[in-house]
């Protein structure tokens, strides 16, 4: 079985996205929030069958862990009330996609967050989506959208969320949204920087001493971390915590959203294979064809299949590790098989 742990509903029906615009306009104008539009099952089917489902079939995956479009989370827009309504609308749409294709999609949620605001709404939404069958959440380490005003992930600010995630046994993908800072291109700088930053925050702190069963996924192959693994191991020492970088990798997982073979090869060479999860970010950040290979940049399954791995390692990366990281998915599949 092949599980892609990093798919976003980037092709959501237009009325969904238009509602978000109308919601924010109403918020700015101080008028009533418009009603969420009627979106038919066929509308949803159409946006998925032309895109994700077609590509999943063409490329040969079986299942996608599916969450709302990350760049549209927009935690820096509106306030916590608009964020909560938007997260709920996005998650409800994911739930419908999952209900329509229960053998292909499994839900991961967007949380309502806002810089400088507590995590009560995020926890409320976490409880709600878990009861709906979601298996994980995306956590934005920078809800300010590129101004980085929130405390590090190891700060007590985040603890109530980590506690509840542990209670529910759901992992979190550390994933920023759009950049409102002109210095940072979203997918080319802000995403990469967030991945690197999150890892370094975890290296400076000792979060998993307090939450030994918490699992965090750092997407996009871990940003700059595997390429600079010597630096991070060395910084571990300099911080007086020899081996801490390596130890983190029992709780931290990296996906394979690295869009060329040499990058994937480095990832596999350097990082523990038990900590790597197949992901493509499809349909996502980079949609074109690599002229040097003739294949889509984000067809990361090709790179994983071509990497120097034992069958056991490859199986782990393609599904076994994901089933450990997302136990609610494993239980579901086991129940279905029984």
């Amino acid at each position: 079985m092949i599980i892609d742990i990093h798919g976003h509903y980037t092709t959501a029906p237009a009325p969904h996205t238009e509602w978000r615009e109308a919601q924010l306009k109403a918020w700015e104008a101080g008028t009533a929030t418009p009603l969420y539009p009627r979106i038919s099952d066929d509308d949803i089917r159409e946006t998925l069958e032309k895109n994700q489902l077609r590509l999943i079939a063409e490329r040969g995956a079986d299942m996608t862990i599916f969450s709302p479009r990350a760049s549209a989370m927009g935690h820096h827009l509106g306030d916590i009330t608009t964020s909560a309504a938007w997260a709920a609308a996005c998650n409800d749409l994911i739930a419908r996609a999952v209900a329509l294709y229960p053998h292909t999609f499994v839900g991961v949620a967007q949380l309502p967050q806002q810089a400088g605001v507590g995590l009560e709404e995020a926890i409320r939404e976490l409880d709600r989506v878990v009861s709906m069958g979601f298996v994980g959440v995306n956590v934005n380490p920078d809800p300010s959208g590129g101004h980085w005003t929130s405390p590090p992930l190891t700060d007590r600010y985040w603890y109530p969320l980590w506690e509840r995630m542990v209670e529910h046994d759901v992992p979190g993908m550390v994933h920023v949204s759009a950049s409102a800072n002109p210095a940072f291109h979203a997918t080319g700088a802000h995403y990469m920087n967030a991945d690197t930053t999150a890892f370094m925050q975890l290296l400076q702190g000792d979060l998993f001493a307090d939450f030994p069963s918490l699992r965090l996924i750092i997407p996009h192959g871990g940003g700059a971390v595997p390429y600079h693994w010597g630096r991070y191991r060395g910084l571990s020492d300099m911080l007086g915590k020899p081996g801490h970088a390596e130890r983190l990798m029992s709780n931290v997982f990296l996906d394979t959203c690295v869009y060329h073979q040499p990058g994937i090869d480095l990832l596999m060479d350097v990082m523990p294979k038990e900590s790597i999860l197949f992901g493509s970010e499809m349909v996502g950040a980079v949609r074109g064809i690599d002229p040097t290979t003739g294949h889509y940049f984000d067809d990361t399954l090709r790179y994983v299949m071509a990497a120097d791995l034992t069958d056991g390692e490859r199986d782990g990366i393609l599904s076994g590790n994901a089933l450990r990281v997302y136990p609610r998915l494993a239980s579901r599949l086991a129940a279905r098989a029984a």
Copy 2:
């Protein structure tokens, strides 16, 4: 010949660093700036012979392109007047190190910068240091120290500096300083993020159309860029500029401050070898010994020597490329040889 293009005077005599503290205290208190202390040639010799010179000899380099300690530039502290005085003091100290060891060190300058302030002082200091024999400058893309309030490097804001650098034919290393943002560890997150961000800014813009002879060095192996080279090539296409990522590499150079063999191997495998310059950041970010190799993490010469390169490629990386990027150094060496 082996030229290390990325060395900082991280071991400057204590009175130099103490003066900076006193300068900032006086600025805060609104009192007169204390006099710069007397530092003897022997003080300078001692701090260099125990550290950089010893390591250069042990590791086998010939020459280091030497600039003030990057993390101490502190453009987010004080104001443009204190920044100007501090840059001048730091550069004067570099000039003294160069004068004491003219066959080993060559100077690169710190510039006075301040977020939200024009680049007049930076240009004034650039003129001054070039007249003193410096061959390049460090340019901080984020003088706010981790708040990223400055416009992208492609913005007109930076043009007067680029113009003068072109006039003087000196390259710039894009290098941030300390992080005043608790989200970002300086050497583990802020440095990497700045490298990635700078490259992406250059990819979004077209700076070298306006400055075809400008040369910028992105340190620390280019941050996340080589590891994600597929993403950047793909983003090039998505920005409507196919091939732009590759074309940038005629004006953009990456150093080898990547502290393990697999990272260096990826760098060599993926990026044009004409765009890679040997550097170690020594004595710098990571000072320990890698327990997996028994050698210093930042002994990057070992990795370069072990990489799969032709003799010509290796010579280019160790000195030939640097002589193209720093023509003022090349002229000096030619004059000395004549």
